[in-house]
């Protein structure tokens, strides 16, 4: 095979031999534990609480570290391996620290047709970080290239943290959003 550059992603959550970064926190707060127990009671099987509990862990720990996975397993009473398997399967659980404002740029076909590739380059330029390379030195920004966000009609589509979609059709709008982030108008990561 003669590839100019390998299309393998460099930001795969767990490349062979790679170790997960560790978080400072090691355990859930009592409120978070109570929240997880309330979720467990809603479902016929406590296993169903795995996904919601991982979201809570992500909020509490900043990202889904190994300690966070262990804490989830202990809180629900399920094998650690199961939680590890689930956490590494889904892309929305960040297995490494991200910035306070995590820009997720869709570069799939509908967005690409309307300039998503160029927008991603602009976002990287403005924030000074590359996709999947962790937060900027000031801890404010991080960038991720993601698949379809179901915002094809307002493409190119960008998601900031967990809850904001935006129509960043040009660079001015991008700067506007970044300023709004700095002013605290968007919920920061792990709100």
């Amino acid at each position: 095979m003669n590839h100019p550059h390998s299309p393998e992603t460099s930001n795969e959550p767990l490349a062979p031999g790679q170790r997960l970064p560790e978080s400072e926190r090691k355990a859930f707060s009592p409120e978070a534990l109570a929240e997880i127990h309330a979720i467990m009671a809603q479902y016929p099987d406590k296993l169903a609480a795995t996904l919601p509990a991982l979201y809570i862990a992500q909020r509490e720990f900043g990202f889904v570290s190994l300690a966070a996975m262990k804490a989830v397993a202990a809180a629900i009473g399920i094998p650690e391996g199961h939680v590890f398997g689930v956490a590494t399967f889904y892309t929305m659980y960040q297995k490494a620290p991200v910035g306070k404002f995590h820009f997720q740029v869709c570069t799939n076909i509908s967005c690409a047709l309307r300039g998503a590739a160029q927008l991603l380059e602009k976002v990287c330029e403005r924030t000074g970080v590359k996709p999947g390379q962790g937060p900027s030195p000031d801890g404010l920004w991080s960038v991720e290239e993601v698949e379809c966000l179901a915002g094809c009609g307002v493409a190119p589509c960008v998601q900031v943290n967990q809850d904001v979609y935006d129509e960043l059709v040009n660079e001015d709008k991008l700067v506007e959003v970044m300023e709004a982030c700095k002013r605290g108008e968007y919920r920061p990561w792990g709100y």
Partner: protein, 456 residues
């Protein structure tokens, strides 16, 4: 709970004549109005919960028969008749009482599709009403709505709407004096396209990795938490209240034969007015793209259209007049899919577009079945090589030989979905691939669909 989002979207929801007899407005009532999700608005302006009251006075079997009579076909992609699916659910026997579940599939991740999002944003009560009617028809104990994790604000909105319905007595114990208990829970996904496949969705709902299950047993026999389950798309369930209001036979008159009703089409890409258009099934594609969406936004000719989300084989110019319903699109070698049209003009390099699509499938393959996991990655590698000017003529035959080894050889349709764009691009735009191999550059000069930063 955080405040419910009040930011409008900047795409089109309507067109002149929408809401008339020719273009009935059944699913998008009040779309564009951000206050439309409140229960009083839905009840007072859009005949809200009329259908539910009617259904709860009928026998459950009669409700299923009404949906059967309407000819409603699943809007998730496969187009399976919804009423028939409902009738597969096992009934209670004197010896055995079953716990049945209704699951709503809101894991909208198909590139080019953004219809469920609009229903959840502007009309969540219609979905809730549809879920209550479906739950009654199958006598379910619980309804689960599985929504993709990126839609956090819509999940908050839907939960608020469900609470309004609970307060009004439409959910909970002894609904409207029928003695039937039913409630709806929202479950948040976590970013996996594969969870749109119904058994993968059920695994995810149970808190597992979203890997599709071996069928049989089908969900109707053994679904969520081991109980009989029916999985329906958001749009399918939202279409149920209008059916109950107008009657199945009346609904069946809309649209084309065997493809009844209206459908939400999302148009994206190179058009003047991208957005959401609700049209009767069987509306010609060029009417939607040229008349409603305004045609090409760049002034260049439209080269290819993907008619129903990224998984559907592309159509070229000679098929732009196809009536958009499941059967007609199938006859032209494509699929109805999820109703998301992606319009590409002449400036688009098909090799780049195909590479971008295949990269998506390689990324989203769950890795369970070898043909899909390895095949999609190999297709990506080969396309990458062609795109970067190192392709060989044999590569085209290699690509053509890969797709039949992936399609129909996997547990779920993700492998088949990857083959759709690959096969059609090779058949219809082979000259672009050849141009790429010979001249080491795009046939459509200046196409920039891939970014220089990031992983690729």
């Amino acid at each position: 709970m955080a405040a419910i989002r009040t930011k409008p979207d900047h795409h089109t929801y309507t067109f002149p004549g929408f809401g008339s007899e020719k273009f009935p407005n059944l699913l998008l009532r009040g779309a564009g109005d951000l206050n439309n999700w409140h229960l009083p608005v839905y009840e007072q302006q859009h005949e809200g919960y009329v259908a539910m009251r009617k259904a709860l006075q009928m026998e459950p079997v009669a409700v299923t028969d009404e949906v059967k009579a309407s000819g409603l076909r699943g809007r998730g992609g496969a187009g399976f008749p919804a009423g028939l699916k409902w009738s597969f659910m096992p009934k209670d026997t004197p010896e055995r009482k079953l716990t049945r579940y209704l699951v709503c599939n809101g894991d909208e991740g198909e590139p080019g599709t953004f219809k469920d999002r609009v229903i959840l944003e502007y009309n969540p009560h219609q979905l809730i009403e549809g879920m209550i009617i479906g739950g009654w028809a199958m006598q379910c104990a619980m309804g689960y709505v599985y929504i993709r994790g990126e839609f956090l604000w819509l999940i908050e909105k839907l939960e608020a709407a469900i609470q309004q319905a609970r307060d009004a007595g439409y959910l909970g114990k002894n609904i409207l004096g029928t003695g039937w208990d039913y409630d709806i829970l929202v479950y948040r996904g976590a970013g996996a396209y594969i969870c749109g496949e119904e058994t993968a969705l059920l695994n995810s709902l149970e808190g597992r990795r979203g890997e599709p299950r071996v069928k049989p047993p089908f969900p109707a026999a053994k679904g969520a938490f081991g109980q009989p389950t029916t999985v329906n798309n958001v749009e399918t369930l939202a279409a149920v209240p209008p059916i109950m209001r107008m009657g199945g036979a009346e609904y069946a008159k809309i649209g084309s034969p065997k493809n009844s009703g209206t459908r939400i089409f999302g148009v994206s890409g190179h058009v003047k007015r991208p957005g959401i258009y609700e049209l009767p099934m069987g509306t010609p594609m060029n009417f939607l793209v040229e008349e409603l969406a305004g045609g090409s936004s760049t002034g260049r000719k439209i080269k290819a259209i993907i008619p129903g989300g990224a998984s559907c084989p592309m159509l070229d110019e000679k098929d732009f007049d196809v009536p958009m319903d499941f059967d007609n699109l199938k006859a032209r070698g494509s699929m109805g899919g999820s109703g998301g049209l992606i319009v590409m003009d002449e400036s688009v390099c098909i090799v780049q577009a195909t590479l971008r699509l295949i990269r998506f499938y390689a990324h989203e393959s769950c890795g369970q079945c070898t043909p899909c996991r390895e095949g999609c990655n190999w297709m990506q590698l080969i396309l990458h090589r062609i795109e970067h000017g190192q392709g060989r003529m044999e590569d085209l035959d290699l690509l053509a030989s890969l797709t039949p080894r992936i399609g129909m050889r996997t547990l779920c349709p993700l492998g088949d979905a990857a083959c759709g764009p690959m096969d059609s691009a090779l058949q219809k735009f082979r000259h672009e691939f050849e141009h790429h191999i010979i001249h080491k550059t795009c046939y459509a000069q200046g196409s920039k669909l891939l970014s220089s930063v990031g992983a690729h």
